[in-house]
Subunit: 164 residues, 2 copies
């Protein structure tokens, strides 16, 4: 997308998406802070809710997080009483993951925050425009081979998955 004169840069889809993605994640992280959550822990709670009883390695695999990292992540959530590691019914090596009721309550609050975040992001868009934007982005995501719901940065510090 080279421009001939003036060379006005940075109007490409790639740059805009990256710029916005980072900004959106950061903003979402700020919003979650009062709940002592961040985009990553939020995503974790969501995935556990969606597949309760699964062992750690299944979660790690689904989210593409190294198992050794999952340990520390879950340690924190368990210490805070949001997640429970129970013995697996058939495999004594494994530990089944469950949300506690406190975890469930906090997750519901976080979902509200996510909805607010989404609303803010799309404040200047009509419902039809938002729908169209989602469709366009979804086509790019498919083209890029992205699995729906799996944020490729979930293993990283700053950029996490803004949700809902």
């Amino acid at each position: 997308m080279a421009r001939k004169s003036g060379d006005r840069p940075f109007e490409a889809v790639g740059f805009l998406i990256s710029q916005l993605g980072f900004q959106s994640s950061r903003r979402f992280a700020d919003r979650l802070e009062p709940l002592d959550l961040n985009p990553r822990t939020f995503a974790l709670l969501r995935h556990i809710e969606a597949a309760e009883g699964e062992p750690q390695h299944a979660l790690a695999e689904a989210l593409r997080v190294p198992p050794s990292r999952m340990v520390a992540l879950l340690d924190e959530l368990e210490e805070r009483g949001l997640v429970e590691r129970r013995p697996h019914p058939t495999d004594r090596r494994a530990r089944s993951l469950y949300l506690t009721s406190a975890g469930r309550r906090l997750l519901e609050k976080a979902k509200k925050v996510a909805a607010e975040h989404e609303a803010e992001l799309c404040a200047d868009l009509s419902a039809a425009e938002r729908k169209q934007l989602i469709a366009l982005l979804g086509r790019i995501a498919t083209g890029q081979g992205l699995a729906a719901g799996v944020h490729p940065a979930i293993g990283f510090k700053v950029v996490g998955p803004p949700g809902d």
Copy 2:
């Protein structure tokens, strides 16, 4: 955007943008690797090209990078013979930044890579759709108070500014 039944998550603008932004940056980084560049160094070269002769602190300020970080960043580019630090004409504390001819040549190559990246990203979109997508994203970016061309993650490791 809570859904009542099934609770199918992750179809929000926020999540898609963040997911795609990260993926796009990573993909762009892969593409730049053969040139021994990454999104951040690419952005640096671009900005220097756009404002040659400026001192370091101006660049640091424009890109929101701490001055101490700028040092290491520029050290690398200078050692590779891509950027030159010349004495400032009026302020002997400052150093004016210039692209070397090698830097200019490499930047041109990188711009081609960026154009390829953009083309890949938008492969499934018509020209009109791409234009519309850019317009929609641009409106969100404005609403979020993002300065055009300044990637908020330029100071970070993994996520850099995919360009053009």
